[in-house]
Point group: D2
Chain length 115, copies 4
């Protein structure tokens, strides 16, 4: 993991808004993301039951498409939050920090578009 920092890393004496320690954009919507990911976990368990019960292939595929969409939607939400916080902060800081964070975001977007 190349996570530059997380809440646990922010010690007492640290300055909270140094560019190398981006705010996590999703923090305020944490419960919402956890709820959606629990539902996705439930979909993964549901798929196992379908296979165990010899469910018709096409119905399993329909369920996989729904789960993929749910996962994609979580990713787009996280990316949106990330741009509104980490990327915005880095852009305001400018310099290498900005270049690094923009490249990192672009790479994540490319992985999403291609997956």
């Amino acid at each position: 993991m190349s996570a530059p920092s997380d809440a646990a890393d922010v010690g007492a004496g640290e300055i909270a808004d140094v560019p190398s320690s981006p705010d996590l954009g999703y923090i305020r919507r944490k419960e919402d993301y956890l709820r959606r990911l629990r539902r996705i976990e439930g979909q993964a368990r549901g798929l196992q039951r379908m296979v165990e019960d010899d469910t018709y292939c096409i119905d399993i595929l329909t369920q996989i498409s729904a789960m993929t969409k749910a996962l994609q939607s979580v990713a787009l939400g996280l990316l949106d939050d990330h741009m509104g916080h980490c990327v915005t902060q880095a852009a305001q800081a400018g310099g290498d920090e900005a270049r690094y964070r923009l490249q990192e975001a672009s790479d994540a977007i490319a992985r999403l578009v291609r997956s």
Copy 2:
């Protein structure tokens, strides 16, 4: 669910290869699919831990891309098995059965391509 039949439905006296009761192509690889789906369920749980631990957004997105690819790969495997069994049988049977199964497979492919 519009599953036309499943193993539990195939009673003692039934003729096994009537077109309306397609073989499930994935049956022989059931354990393999279950193993992959359990791993996907584990990835969904891992994502929840990442959110709970305030993991950096980009690392969560990387994990989501990996999980999406794993799910897509299961879907392509199921589709491949489906074409080699249900679609092949339906094509051999011909008539309405063939037309129905081909349309159903095309619709499932379109959902996968678009999701």
Copy 3:
């Protein structure tokens, strides 16, 4: 190109339904495909004009999304026609021909899903 045959290859004395010479499923809708591909070519020219005219990036991206969807839709149509003809014929022929054509179709579907 690994095209196994095309209409021009089907000589007078040939048996029309030998497995190694699949019917082209899209032949009857050729004009429809040509019309859609000409429109896609026009979209590609439109994108060049947008870049030349310094159009705002987001508007170019919107146009690219529309063009990608149009292209995807042609691919899904061709695949549907292909399954209704070449794959169906191969399934009826059975044996190696069926296995080869099914594998080929599965590979094409995987490329579409992943692109």
Copy 4:
């Protein structure tokens, strides 16, 4: 088109860097984009020739996958340039401008991921 401005709109007396008039990130790579789009236009023409010549469906699908990837790659390049210029400038400007541009970029990313 909702393009907020383009080169032709920038009149003599206008202040060049007002937030409502974002720099176009791709300007410096314009020739590169035009070259890639001309190749994509050529691919669209090639597809028409393939249909006219009754090329085997699978070969046409392979060509469509390649063209889709080329188009996606142009989109990811434009998005990257856009984030490095328009989004960065908007983030530095802050306020409504930043919120508007970030939302606009997120929407474009969602369209790309879903297309």
